[in-house]
């Protein structure tokens, strides 16, 4: 028994050091997936965040921003634990969190228990987060997974002539949302989705999935990310797979396109849609790519920023610009700051972004095709740019509500 007391007494010294709070700083907590399947995505997200700080600076009036980072592993429990630590121990006033879909749903629910604080979504893209029972203090400056698929179904049907496709996706909310966006548009055009396979996040062995892929389809849609996507591509190539591929937003992304080995070459020619395109000629995008490339040595970054870097850049930008607008005034439960956040229109690298009444981004989407730059590096080339994509994907809100929430089987493959 007595050994416990020694530990406790030693601990009490910890409280004292933990209690000190600096006054002239605004504390911001940041979470990223620095563990697990999505580690690479989390690391590049943090690079995007750092790039934003390099470009915009950390000063707001006479106050200085202080950022505290916590790690998660793409599971909702790890996100809630990290956010609680940041709020309760580090006393952050604003959160830039989280990265992944289910984390977003959990953090949005958690945000309701702290109405006095402000939560800015870092990169998560599940539809439910801002569409169902949104939290008034949760702001999202990136589009959701369905918005990121706008344009893909039409392009696949009209230009590529695909009529029947099958999907393989990770079994969680963000990919449901992506497949939701794809199926709505592709089936709306008259296409068929014959088979939807779902694999658990963190799957390593795809042998049974690959064996079950139908071969009477025109293309296979891949909604995978991080280590899962690389594992799938390796095994798919070894199995001799040759089908046309279509990709989700984190599948056709620098996190996969610049992975080691040549399995990624299976992706050349793959069509995809996302909130960004690597080779877009817009000067704002090119400036961002340059800032990203200048901020890190070539072996510590991707050739071009990933979607996660762009999202973290955008959310950090919204945070700093809105804070500057109110001159760092966080009084009255941050009400002025929240109002500024709701109103702000971002001139983000990936196009203009404004928020709707659910505090969800309305932005620009890109249909892309994977190309080899001739030196072995893969990039996504712009095929089509679609501005002003809203959360109901252009549907009337009442019709959209009838479709139901994204899940394994929703939406049905039909014209709504």
């Amino acid at each position: 028994m007595s050994k416990c007391s020694v530990g406790l007494i030693a601990l009490s010294s910890l409280f004292l050091s933990g209690a000190a709070i600096a006054q002239e700083k605004i504390k911001v907590g940041v979470t990223a997936t620095l563990e697990g399947t999505y580690t690479v995505l989390g690391e590049d997200g943090m690079r995007g965040h750092q790039t934003a700080l390099n470009v915009l600076g950390k000063k707001v009036g006479d106050k200085e921003l202080e950022f505290i980072v916590a790690s998660t592993d793409a599971t909702p429990d790890s996100a809630v634990r990290a956010v609680r630590k940041l709020i309760e121990q580090d006393k952050v006033q604003i959160l830039l969190s989280p990265l992944s879909g289910d984390e977003g749903i959990a953090v949005k629910n958690f945000a309701k228990t702290h109405p006095e604080l402000t939560f800015i979504n870092a990169a998560s893209g599940a539809q439910e987060t801002t569409y169902v029972d949104p939290a008034p203090n949760f702001f999202r400056y990136n589009m959701d997974g369905a918005q990121w698929q706008v344009g893909l179904g039409k392009y696949a049907y009209d230009t590529k002539g695909y009529r029947k496709i099958a999907t393989v996706g990770e079994d969680y909310s963000f990919i449901y949302t992506q497949v939701f966006g794809l199926v709505l548009e592709f089936c709306g055009q008259g296409g068929q989705v014959t088979n939807r396979q779902w694999v658990p996040l963190g799957t390593k062995d795809f042998a049974s999935v690959i064996a079950a892929l139908p071969d009477d389809v025109d293309a296979i849609y891949l909604g995978l990310g991080g280590a899962d996507a690389v594992n799938f591509l390796n095994q798919y190539q070894q199995a001799g797979g040759k089908a046309h591929l279509m990709g989700g937003s984190i599948m056709i992304d620098q996190t996969i396109l610049s992975s080691k080995g040549n399995a990624k070459n299976a992706l050349i020619g793959t069509i995809a849609a996302s909130g960004q395109a690597d080779t877009w000629e817009d000067p704002g995008w090119q400036k961002f790519v340059k800032a990203y490339q200048d901020a890190f040595p070539p072996n510590k970054r991707f050739p071009s920023p990933s979607l996660l870097a762009t999202n973290y850049y955008g959310s950090t930008m919204a945070l700093i610009l809105a804070l500057r607008e109110v001159n760092g005034d966080l009084s009255d439960n941050q009400s002025k700051f929240k109002a500024a956040l709701a109103k702000i229109e971002l001139d983000a690298p990936n196009g203009k972004i404004k928020l709707d009444s659910n505090r969800q981004a309305i932005g620009t989407n890109f249909v892309t095709e994977v190309v080899d730059d001739g030196k072995g590096a893969l990039f996504s080339k712009v095929v089509k740019v679609i501005p002003n994509v809203n959360q109901t994907l252009g549907y009337d809100p009442a019709v959209f509500a009838k479709i139901g929430l994204p899940s394994r089987t929703v939406p049905e493959c039909k014209k709504y």
């Binding site: 028994m1 050994k3 416990c4 009490s12 209690a19 980072v69 309760e88 079994d171 779902w198 658990p200």
Partner: protein, 360 residues
């Protein structure tokens, strides 16, 4: 300590039952009173974060590990499914109680949902135990790990009851007598009370006839069988008790985070419970709580610590691993063993009977 238990068992098996003072050695131990007092006044010392994220979490994880310690230390059965049982109870609270997922949760009041959850989780653990008692040693570990892994994958992919990878959010916590029992201080006292009860129950059972027989089964099942004890029944009963303890902790866990999702019952988390028990020491009930404290501190502060030293924060898992490796390397029976060895060297060979010895 286990040697001391065994020695007493061999010489005077009924002594403990006849003399209550000896059944509760803590009563004469001033350190125990100091710890109890510190734990009771903890809300005065610690702020919300330390109170809940460190101490309440330590007590909850410690209680789950305590159920493993009971099985492994007294029953000689290393069960990796204790966290799964706790997670099952947590899910059942979410399913029978109230949460944001109205299509899943049945909306029962907490005083119905919680006993139901505990009863189901205890039944689940007992069934798992009934399967596992037919095996020994590494096969028990394999079976219980298989149950844990199966449960994890099931929750991850079942949307009808467990809501898949998203899990169940905003689980309601009890409000009654005008108190919000999830507010930091009341919740801390609930957790403390449950942990203390479980601790005392394990202490008591280890000295009660059932516990003594269980230790007999651990040390020599064939002799116990020859003496007329039903070996398997004792083991299954031990699983039932341990499952009950784990289920209590599971209820507290879901109240703590107000959400439950498959990440909480992953295989990694199951093994964390084993690490906690081994690092703390599985020879005495206090071991798991010490192990849990070390685990929670490392998990929470390793990243900050590395960043403060100016190192790459991404390597914080390495620091956690090295910490555990160091403890296990220098003491095969955990922190308890280190402490006991230190005490013995202080006592200059006067009494060597308390020497640490690990099981499993």
């Amino acid at each position: 300590m286990s040697l001391a238990h065994d020695a007493r068992v061999a010489v005077r098996p009924t002594a403990a039952a006849q003399r209550p003072a000896q059944a509760w050695p803590e009563i004469n131990n001033p350190a125990a009173w100091i710890v109890a007092a510190i734990l009771l006044i903890m809300p005065l010392i610690a702020n919300g974060f330390f109170l809940i994220e460190i101490f309440a979490t330590t007590l909850i994880l410690g209680t789950i590990a305590l159920s493993l310690m009971f099985l492994a230390g007294y029953g000689g059965m290393v069960s990796l499914m204790q966290l799964t049982i706790a997670g099952f109870a947590a899910y059942m609270v979410a399913v029978f109680g109230t949460s944001d997922n109205a299509n899943i949760s049945l909306g029962w009041p907490w005083w119905l949902a919680v006993p139901m959850a505990i009863a189901l989780a205890t039944a689940f653990g007992t069934l798992g135990g009934a399967l596992a008692v037919r095996t020994e040693g590494i096969y028990t570990i394999m079976i219980t790990l298989a149950i844990g892994a199966a449960f994890y994958y099931f929750t991850n992919q079942n949307w009808a009851i467990f809501n898949g990878h998203t899990g169940i959010n905003n689980v309601a916590t009890p409000h009654f007598w005008g108190v919000n029992w999830r507010a930091d201080i009341p919740f801390y006292y609930i957790v403390l009370a449950v942990a203390a009860l479980c601790y005392l129950a394990v202490e008591y059972i280890s000295r009660a006839p059932f516990g003594l027989a269980l230790q007999g089964v651990r040390d020599n099942p064939r002799r116990m069988a020859a003496l007329g004890f039903n070996v398997n029944a004792h083991r299954v009963a031990a699983y039932a008790f341990a499952s009950f303890v784990a289920a209590l902790a599971g209820v507290l866990q879901v109240w703590n985070y107000r959400q439950i999702s498959p990440g909480s019952v992953s295989v990694g988390a199951c093994i964390d419970v084993l690490i906690i028990a081994v690092v703390g020491g599985i020879t005495r009930p206090i071991g798991p709580f010490i192990g849990a404290l070390i685990f929670v501190l490392l998990r929470t502060f390793a990243l900050d610590f590395l960043v403060k030293l100016g190192l790459d924060g991404n390597r914080f898992r390495l620091l956690i691993g090295l910490g555990f490796l160091a403890i296990v390397f220098w003491s095969s029976d955990g922190v308890i063993g280190l402490w006991q060895r230190w005490r013995q060297s202080q006592r200059s060979n006067a009494n060597r009977s308390g020497g640490g010895r690990g099981h499993g």
